[in-house]
């Protein structure tokens, strides 16, 4: 059977696994919003994102004018030799933006990517940390 006539079974009754990014993009291919946790501690803001299939070199993180932007690209090449027969989720790049309210010490941002989970530690700048006031 030729590639063109082959049927791909798509899972029914499933909600789409990923939310597509609504903004306009300059690169081809689908783009999704990665699932994200944001936790704040006294000294830092920790952003954790699920970006399965993304390699370290293909992540682009920028923080400009209080907007944190994460752009993660996947490598499509392993899929090129494969014919899909049954699909439940779509594969695409990831992108997401956040407005960061606390003043972040941009020089000390730490990023780590392990097993498809991107962790960003954004330390708060000294002046925006909570100060305990002692009563004299």
């Amino acid at each position: 059977m030729s590639k063109e006539t082959k049927e791909v079974t798509k899972a029914k009754n499933r909600k789409p696994e990923k939310t597509e990014y609504a903004g306009e993009r300059t690169i081809p291919g689908k783009c999704y919003i990665p699932k994200t946790d944001i936790a704040e501690t006294e000294n830092s803001l920790v952003v954790t994102m699920d970006v399965p299939g993304v390699k370290k070199d293909n992540v682009n993180i920028t923080l400009e004018n209080n907007i944190l932007e994460v752009d993660a690209k996947i490598d499509n090449s392993p899929y090129e030799s494969l014919n899909p027969v049954y699909t439940e989720y779509n594969v695409g790049h990831y992108t997401r933006r956040f407005t960061v309210s606390n003043t972040i010490d941009t020089a000390k941002i730490d990023a780590n990517l392990t097993d498809g989970v991107l962790t960003l530690a954004l330390p708060k700048a000294e002046e925006s940390r909570p100060k305990k006031i002692e009563i004299s």
Partner: protein, 139 residues
């Protein structure tokens, strides 16, 4: 706001309910009951390749079993944030999962290759020798 995160909690509850109804448990079909992890199945030179996105699951927490024409993916995903943190957003779930899929053929169990990299699980499932169609020569 009076109740911070109230809307998120409600939406999370709705999401959890949707997940339960989407498991296929209430459907007549017997396959693909488990909703997590979602899988994609590809064909490569007559063999099947199963791909699942499992970000943040440790290799040792993954359990893959193959028997006859079924494959079972089980494991646990634990998400830990430190103590004394306040959350702005929680979208990722910790979950235990156990999913069994039926494949169109018997699998050569000793030839199954599983690889976990960058949060992607790739399992190559080749057809069992005994299950392969035989070419018949006319005498």
């Amino acid at each position: 706001m009076l109740l911070p995160g109230a809307l998120e909690t409600l939406l999370g509850l709705q999401d959890a309910m949707d997940r339960t109804f989407n498991t296929g448990f209430f459907d007549s079909a017997t396959t693909s009951r488990g909703v997590y992890p979602p899988v994609n199945i590809f064909e490569n030179n007559g063999d099947l390749v199963l791909v699942a996105e499992l970000p943040g699951v440790r290799k040792e927490d993954l359990n893959i079993e193959v028997k006859g024409d079924t494959i079972r993916l089980a494991g646990e995903r634990t998400i830990k944030h430190g103590e004394n943190v306040s959350y702005h957003r929680v979208e990722r779930n910790s979950s235990k999962f156990d999913r069994t899929l039926k494949l169109p053929y018997n699998v050569q169990s000793d030839k199954v290759k599983a690889e976990y990299k960058d949060g992607l699980l790739v399992v190559a499932l080749s057809r069992a020798e005994a299950d392969k169609p035989k070419q018949i020569t006319i005498q």
